[in-house]
Subunit: 276 residues, 2 copies
Amino acid sequence: MKRIERHTCWDGSQSVWRHASTTLGCDMNFAIFVPAHEDGERLPVIYWLSGLTANEQNFITKAGAQRYAAEHKVILVAPDTSPRGDGVANDPAYDLGQGAGFYLNATQPPWSAHFRMQDYVAMELPDLIEAHFPTNDRRSIMGHSMGGHGALVTALRNPGRYLAVSAFAPIVAPSQVPWGEKAFTAYLGANRSAWAEWDATALLASASERLPILIDQGDEDEYLDTQLRPWLFTKEAEHFGHPVRLRRHPGYDHSYYFVASFIDEHIAHHARALRA
Amino acid sequence: MKRIERHTCWDGSQSVWRHASTTLGCDMNFAIFVPAHEDGERLPVIYWLSGLTANEQNFITKAGAQRYAAEHKVILVAPDTSPRGDGVANDPAYDLGQGAGFYLNATQPPWSAHFRMQDYVAMELPDLIEAHFPTNDRRSIMGHSMGGHGALVTALRNPGRYLAVSAFAPIVAPSQVPWGEKAFTAYLGANRSAWAEWDATALLASASERLPILIDQGDEDEYLDTQLRPWLFTKEAEHFGHPVRLRRHPGYDHSYYFVASFIDEHIAHHARALRA
């Protein structure tokens, strides 16, 4: 594991690391912000999953989250959105292949060789973080758009691993929208019966845990009605007794200007659970 | 003037506009954040000048300034760093030509045809902003690196136009450092007698106004000893009775992670003068 970038930010340390991922079979970058803390103090970790086309840089340069992580003394970890490299399958479209891993384990060739982002973000990466940084055993997860899908699915699939979950403008029902249908057909095959275990809305019926879920959604989001449709999720979540809060914000779009405007409240939402 | 981008951010409006600049003889982009405000209310304006290689995007995507502008109800304006386009002189180096206008009026060919950034940022742009946005007549100016130089020089050259000035890691004495010597030789000629009127440290002796000056500087800034040397400025400023405050911050580098960590205090510094 090699540090390739480091900056002091809000008196903490924002760094980027590269490591050889055994799960993905390629080198991967991740970003981590560690707030100022006492010697020997161990902190909880919030994982951030980014959206289509992003890598580990978008969140750390644009969301302004470090201030709030420093205030609440939580570590932030932001991985890349897919395996990368010349030896990794790809597609010219922005919404498939590299930059578009959808945080699942692909079963279909050529994707199945490397695209195991669920095992990476839920298992290999936390193991790596907890071995090398001053963490305790308390984790939570959040994300944006495709990464909001990733956060919800990862929390619902791994009971006991996360204490809170939240999302900005998430894809909540990938089986029912074009981005998800395209990616799931490629990664999981045309048989839709395999899709439900990677669809947050479909997972709610069988989820054994009740985590506090916060979803923020801009009303001027260009993808709201076609790709996101958060009401599909909240209706199911309420039906099955999940404590979900969906806030719709007039005027806000799908960009990091939206994320930056509410990231303080997301980090507070996580910190309440992580420090309870 | 045409709006090419708009996002709601912290309940205000972050937009980017393109207009034909008569001063520069080319199309120019500028970014503007207008906080939420009452109908008919008019707000003061802080101008932000960016550093080498930047355009109007860097500050608005990376500094996280909108939150504080919203809190203090000030407008933020961020222009590009030079004239641009196929018809504009350029140089392959990152520190000369397009992206490196140094906020001066060039006198030497080929630069003198378009490179009149001082007239643009101090005159044409404020006239445009004040004609089209809900401004009052109160202005201040700040910047980063080359833009810190620009902010200091523009404030010192235009008494009565600005109520406060501040800078992050500014080039304070361009006549004495490699970036400035290279740019000034190209834009102003080899005769150093013409350089003093574009050098913040040299301008202090004859400056007629005493504005509150705040300078923040990271101690781990890779350009500190070679290009920045803020003590050259503060020594002269104190000698001539300018109220200057230089803060050195252990661990911080030259990046926007540094700007983002202290932009709240800069906007508060400006707001005190703008709302006094």
